[in-house]
């Protein structure tokens, strides 16, 4: 028997039963039914499962749920209500960044965390923040453009 786990996700308190070592991603998708966050590689190497913990982009597939109690978790379902997340989502729509879309929840989460910390990123900042998010369709050029547009608030 283990105690119920309590997490703060998107500003709401969620209580559920899960072993402490269960990755946050499994809790989100399988227990809480929040399937916007995607499973890609399972070893923190593709970025598809990116969420924010205390505003920082982290890979939820390797993060034991015991490590994030008492910390603020934000997922793709809610990032649009943060200022940076809203800008990123608008730019993504304006430039039609998405192709198949599977990696894009993670791309948007990484981009939103980048802009929240670095409002005017240059190319090297974008490299440093986005290099861990890979895209099989190769939308990298549009991702870079959209990050810049979100930062500048205008069409490029």
């Amino acid at each position: 028997m283990h105690m119920a786990t309590v997490l703060t996700i998107n500003g709401e308190t969620k209580s559920f039963d899960a072993p402490p070592e269960m990755p946050l991603l499994w809790v989100l998708r399988d227990i809480l039914g929040m399937t916007g966050t995607k499973f890609g590689c399972g070893i923190a190497q593709c970025g598809a499962c990116t969420v924010h913990v205390d505003g920082k982009a982290v890979r939820s597939c390797v993060l034991p749920v015991s490590a994030v109690e008492n910390r603020a978790i934000t997922t793709i379902e809610h990032v649009g209500s943060t200022p940076a997340g809203a800008k990123v989502q608008k730019a993504w729509l304006d430039l039609e960044v998405i192709q198949c879309g599977y990696c894009q929840s993670g791309q948007i989460m990484s981009a939103a965390a980048l802009l929240a910390a670095t409002p005017r990123p240059d190319d090297s900042d974008i490299d440093a923040a986005m290099a861990g998010n890979i895209c099989r369709c190769g939308t990298y050029v549009r991702i870079r453009e959209a990050v810049k547009q979100a930062a500048n608030g205008r069409q490029s």
């Binding site: 072993p19 402490p20 070592e21 269960m22 070893i43 923190a44 190497q45 970025g47 990116t50 913990v53 205390d54 920082k56 982009a57 982290v58 890979r59 390797v62 993060l63 034991p64 749920v65 015991s66 490590a67 670095t118 090297s124 900042d125 490299d127 440093a128 290099a131 861990g132 890979i134």
Partner: protein, 447 residues
């Protein structure tokens, strides 16, 4: 006696004295000689009970006591090949002069130790001699186990004999000449095996004596953490000063303030031994990770405290190649701090930052924090490269946290570059590894 004979006799006498002196110099002091107090036979020691099991197991069955002691001696890790049955042997020890395979110590009569009598088992564990009379190589740390009491060794035997027999024959050793001459170990053993049981030191506390027994006889810490001498035996003049074992660096665990355990708090040491992690000191990986998972994490709390008390007393020996102070937290922005190695930075950005951050303080878990660890402050970057190659996994009561192995994802040059970047950014002095160094490390640790 003729003049000729007299000269010959003198030469022989001088040779014998010189050889004896040579042996005496190379062998150096015993592991507990530094304590300097009065040693008494165990039977004459009344202040406490340094041997055996902790109090809560005092009334347990022989097999249960043996299980505790077998874990304390960490028998399983070496006597089990990954993926095979526990204690069935076959683990490869890659040495510069060939490969040794550990033996099957399950009670199988043909391929294991099922035919061993009590005396046979004592001979192997304390004297390094197999049932058939052949000598063991010192990969089996019998020069440490020799300090175990007969009672404790036989409890371990009872535990091993309670396990299901497994039929498994280890591959033949592939040692080259002259190392394949097992008989030569008779000489080695005569010189380097103290072949004596633990003798308590009356000038020290019962806790210290228990710690000494656990560290020296059972946990055999020195086998990895003490440098070796010309004869490939432990050089106790540099006791616990650290050494490279199986391609990993076992760091300095002497009481040296700067480069040993001198500035670790008791709580740090307790946490590191029992959980494999101490805040600001990193997480146990590689062989030490195994030692924590299978051995130290199973110790009774009072035994961990005794180990700490004992380690505190080991004289300081500095590691001159390590910095006097570890590097502080790196800047939060990728633009500040060390940016020299562009290739290393590229690998770091894509594979490492999401867990380790640009500052070295992990956004995920303190267990993944790089700042303050010896691994990143070692200018040789040995363990950084090893962890990148083979990954790591820490089990704690709150769950496991793991880092994947990148050995097959990146080339030797890329792994060298990222290790150099990591030690440069998060450590006191960046490493200068090359792809060739990484290729050699792969050789040392490959199965």
């Amino acid at each position: 006696m003729s003049g000729k004979m007299r000269i010959l006799t003198s030469v022989a006498a001088i040779a014998i004295v010189a050889a004896g002196l040579g042996v005496w110099i190379i062998r150096g002091p015993g592991p507990l000689d530094f304590a300097g107090g009065t040693k008494v036979a165990l039977a004459d020691y009344r202040a406490g009970k340094p041997t055996g099991v902790p109090a809560k197991l005092e009334k347990a069955s022989l097999v249960e006591r043996g299980e505790y002691l077998a874990k304390a001696a960490d028998c399983m890790v070496c006597h089990t090949k990954p993926g095979e049955k526990d204690y069935s042997g076959g683990l490869a020890f890659k040495l510069p002069f060939g490969t040794l395979y550990s033996t099957n110590v399950t009670p199988d009569k043909d391929t294991g130790i099922g035919n061993y009598s009590d005396q046979d088992f004592l001979n192997a564990v304390q004297h390094g001699q197999r049932r058939d009379g052949a000598r063991l190589y010192p990969a089996m740390p019998y020069t440490s186990y020799t300090y175990m009491t007969d009672e404790d060794v036989l409890a371990v035997k009872a535990y091993l004999f309670s396990l299901p027999p497994v039929r498994a024959k280890a591959p033949e050793n592939t040692l080259s000449f002259p190392f394949n001459q097992r008989w030569a170990m008779i000489v080695w053993s005569a010189v380097f095996n103290p072949d004596t049981r633990f003798a308590p030191d009356t000038s020290k506390s019962p806790e210290w004596n228990r710690g000494a027994y656990l560290v020296e006889a059972l946990a055999h810490c020195g086998e990895c953490h003490t440098p070796r001498n010309l004869g490939f035996a432990l050089d106790n003049r540099k006791r616990f000063a650290g050494a490279i074992t199986a391609g990993w660096r076992a760091f300095n665990i002497s009481s040296d303030k700067a480069t040993g355990l001198g500035n670790w708090s008791d709580q740090d040491l307790i946490s590191y031994l029992s959980l494999g992690h101490a805040p600001g000191h990193g997480s146990a990986s590689g062989p030490m990770g195994e030692a924590v998972d299978h051995s130290f994490s199973q110790f009774a709390p009072e035994d961990i405290s005794s180990i700490v008390a004992y380690l505190r007393s080991v004289p300081p020996v500095p590691s001159p190649d390590l910095p006097a102070t570890t590097a502080p937290v790196a800047p939060a922005s990728h633009k500040d701090g060390v940016t020299a190695d562009a290739r290393g930075k590229k690998v770091f950005a894509s594979a490492c930052t999401s867990c380790h951050g640009w500052s070295g303080e992990s956004p995920v878990s303190p267990m993944a924090t790089l700042t303050g660890t010896w691994a990143v402050n070692d200018p040789a970057a040995t363990n950084v490269a090893q962890i990148v190659l083979s990954g790591t996994k820490r089990h704690t009561p709150a769950g496991a946290l793991s880092m994947p192995a990148f050995g097959s994802a990146y080339t030797d040059d890329e792994i060298a570059a990222v290790a150099n970047y990591v030690t440069g950014r998060f450590g006191a002095k960046g490493s200068k590894l090359t792809g060739k160094d990484i290729a050699e490390m792969r050789e040392q640790t490959a199965d």
